[in-house]
């Protein structure tokens, strides 16, 4: 870390100290209240140049480096701010729009609105038959004069129910290989023919949606990238976030505290064989990831790219939370089953499946690591070299 960044961190910290408290989440807030707060927080950040740190100044960003964004995020995480609502909007959807959109005027109009939290963007990729296999998208976009007409269904769209705009991957040519017949658009979510139906997670969270398209008409000017070149744009969207600051870790301190107080058949839980291994394993894993993280930040700071080993964080995270949550519940006995928010272990356990699935299942990610990092060959796939409509 150089002096300029240290200086920046001090500024961020001081600014957050005075500005964060007013926007912090309080116990018992509804989702609607949190979203309102999140919008307010975006506006406060935007005024101070912290809302979209890496995006160009002309579109409302701060035009600073990835590293500045990391520094700010690290400091921001020290406060209980409503961060999750605008992550996809600002880290994936908007940057893709700004990168590919044809109208400079529209970029100057929509950019700042999204950054200030007046607008929220969603990202519509997954479908019922296109989860792990993104290129299997079926939602049709057919050319009609200068317009495209969209029909079909998207699935697992975060925050579609409150989104103003969205980016979407569609099938524009079913007669060619599956990843060669896709096109990418942005669309106003209020366009007639779009219907959003919420999906409730089993944790009770209400971020996910199905989105139905029934003859939704959009102009060709809303295309992002080439016709049938949408797959590469989608990959670009997914790769946008080069480095994610994450605070999802197994709560080691709480586990140790629990182990010191809980009893198992009258004996101290600290004698339990499972807890000792879990404490050791959790510390070791977090220690390893901490160093990988520091090296990534260092690499970015040196103007390079983080090493590929950062990919293992996501692989370890879900399993680690699951294991630690389950074990802590085992030490708590019947009380471990309480679902209130102060039973952090049951929450970890309940959320762990999402971490193992969202953003690519662990299984898909393991393939990716093996192929991209270790250089192993792709496996034989029946869809290779076939037109999309031959596979249906």
């Amino acid at each position: 870390m150089n002096a300029e960044l240290d200086q920046y961190r001090q500024e961020c910290r001081a600014w957050l100290q005075s500005n964060a408290p007013a926007c912090c989440v309080q116990d018992g807030m509804t989702t609607d209240e949190e979203i309102a707060l999140a919008r307010q927080w975006q506006a406060v950040k935007a005024d101070a140049g912290y809302a979209a740190i890496t995006l160009p100044v002309e579109y409302g960003g701060a035009g600073k480096s990835e590293l500045h964004k990391i520094v700010f995020s690290e400091e921001e995480m020290q406060h209980r701010l409503p961060r999750q609502y605008f992550i996809i909007s600002l880290s994936n959807a908007l940057p893709t729009f700004l990168h590919y959109a044809q109208s400079e005027e529209l970029k100057r109009e929509l950019g700042p609105k999204a950054i200030r939290g007046e607008h929220l963007w969603c990202q519509m990729f997954s479908e019922p038959s296109a989860g792990s296999d993104l290129a299997a998208v079926r939602l049709k976009a057919e050319k009609d004069g200068d317009d495209w007409v969209l029909n079909g269904q998207k699935l697992w769209t975060s925050w579609a129910q409150i989104a103003d705009w969205g980016v979407i991957l569609t099938r524009t040519d079913p007669t060619v290989a599956k990843h060669k017949g896709l096109s990418y658009f942005f669309v106003n979510m209020k366009t007639p023919g779009i219907e959003v139906r919420p999906i409730k997670r089993f944790t009770g969270d209400e971020d996910l949606n199905e989105v139905f398209f029934d003859n939704v008409r959009i102009p060709d000017s809303q295309r992002l990238g080439e016709v049938n070149g949408g797959f590469m744009v989608a990959i670009h969207t997914l790769m946008m976030e080069r480095y994610a600051v994450s605070s999802v870790n197994a709560p080691l301190d709480e586990i140790i505290e629990l182990a010191q107080h809980a009893k198992v058949g009258g004996l101290p839980a600290l004698n339990d064989s499972g807890i000792r291994e879990t404490i050791a394993d959790t510390f070791v894993e977090q220690q390893g990831l901490r160093n990988i993280n520091r090296r990534a930040v260092q690499a970015i700071s040196d103007g390079g790219s983080p090493g590929p080993e950062g990919a293992i964080r996501k692989l370890l995270m879900g399993e680690s939370l699951l294991r630690a949550g389950k074990l802590a519940m085992d030490l708590m006995g019947p009380e471990g089953l309480r679902a209130d928010s102060d039973n952090r272990f049951a929450r970890s356990w309940l959320n762990a499946p999402v971490l193992r699935i969202a953003g690519g299942t662990d299984e898909v990610l393991k393939n990716t690591v093996a192929e991209r990092i270790l250089g192993l060959p792709q496996e034989m796939r029946p869809d290779k070299g076939k037109a999309f409509n031959e596979l249906l």
Binding site: S126, V264, K326, D330
Partner: protein, 363 residues
């Protein structure tokens, strides 16, 4: 899924399965998850009509006179459907009452359990301990009990509770009447469909069950019977995962054709079959009247593991569908944890197992 586990006369278990299938649907099970301490009262009424509570209780007290093995078949059916009925409790406690040396004063209650006129919860755990506490948290004197126990399944609806209490300096088992001077508190739990509640006693009437070395047996038999409920649940997870993996495609083939999915399913199958082997081994010991603590603990540990593992990995096979409220797998994911903690967690039973094995090796 295939398995060569021997079956007792299965007619009754198939009948329970049929009734549950025709009566209970997903929406009803989901509703039960929504509020604390839920119990499927209409299904219970039906169960009582059909005589299920007395299934494995003697005919002399109005039971159907079936064996432990029949109960294990029914427990698997309940577990498979994530249906919660206090049948294991009725059987274990009913038999305990009949076996007590003060049988005559307890017999009437055993009859109520057999007929389903009353139900019972097993409330042996206290807050802050994951296993059977070293000393009872309740005090029993002059026929009434005071103190508090941790949330027990069916605590929110049962007329009776089986508890452990201190009586004249000794630990005894007692049957508490919950209709008076007992307060039930149902917290919001990750699995609200277990009718669980913690119980506070402020002088509630209680009868000592004489011959109190039965504590170990009660708990040991309960965990073995529960193991079958867990195996039923785990098997349902494996079936759901298989159905999904056969039907859904990625990269041009059913996801069940991918090695990662296959190996995961094989691992689930392996965990279930080990649990089944341990449970059947313990069942044979029960049938021979000599259930060892090792066999019971092995059944418990392997069933805890199999159900937790099957539920979590079946969710993983389902991907996004696995994490929705509408999907069914979270019922199993929740239930696996409930059953794993209700009668003492793996941490407790592993310790019991290791200490027993070590002591045996020393002797």
């Amino acid at each position: 899924m295939q398995s060569s586990a021997p079956q007792a006369d299965e007619a009754l278990a198939r009948e329970v399965e049929r009734v549950i299938a025709s009566e209970v649907d997903d929406q009803r099970l989901k509703a039960l998850l929504e509020s604390p301490g839920s119990f499927d009262q209409p299904l219970w009424s039906l169960a009582v009509e059909q005589g299920w509570p007395g299934l494995s209780l003697p005919e002399e007290i109005g039971g159907l006179g079936q064996s432990w093995r029949n109960l294990t078949d029914v427990a698997q059916v309940l577990g498979h459907a994530t249906v919660s009925l206090p049948l294991i409790q009725a059987t274990v406690v009913g038999r305990l009452l009949l076996a007590a040396s003060n049988n005559s004063s307890l017999r009437a209650n055993a009859e109520k359990l057999a007929s389903g006129e009353a139900s019972v919860c097993i409330a042996l755990l206290i807050e802050g301990d994951a296993g059977l506490p070293a000393r009872p948290a309740l005090t029993l004197s002059a026929g009434s009990v005071t103190g508090k126990v941790a949330a027990a399944a069916f605590g929110n609806v049962a007329q009776f509770a089986l508890v452990q209490a201190s009586h004249e300096g000794k630990a005894v088992l007692a049957l508490v009447d919950l209709t008076d001077k007992a307060t039930r508190h149902a917290d919001n739990l990750i699995d609200n469909a277990r009718a669980a509640a913690s119980l506070s006693f402020d002088g509630a009437p209680a009868q000592i069950i004489e011959g109190a070395d039965a504590l170990g047996d009660v708990l040991a038999i309960s965990i073995v019977m529960t193991a079958f409920e867990q195996i039923g649940g785990a098997t349902a997870c494996l079936e759901l995962a298989k159905a999904y993996a056969m039907e859904h495609k990625a990269f041009g083939q059913p996801i069940g054709a991918f090695q990662a999915i296959k190996h995961k399913m094989t691992d689930i199958y392996t965990a279930i079959e080990i649990a089944r082997g341990c449970a059947l081994e313990a069942l044979e010991e029960i049938e021979e009247g000599k259930l060892s603590i090792e066999a019971a603990a092995a059944a418990r540990i392997s069933a805890n593991r199999a159900y937790d593992f099957a539920a979590q990995e079946a969710i993983q096979v389902h991907g996004g569908m696995g994490i929705t409220w509408e999907g069914f797998l979270h019922h199993h994911y929740r239930r696996a944890r409930s059953l794993a903690l209700e009668l003492g967690s793996t941490a407790y039973w592993r310790n019991v197992l290791v200490e027993t094995l070590v002591a045996r090796a020393k002797s």
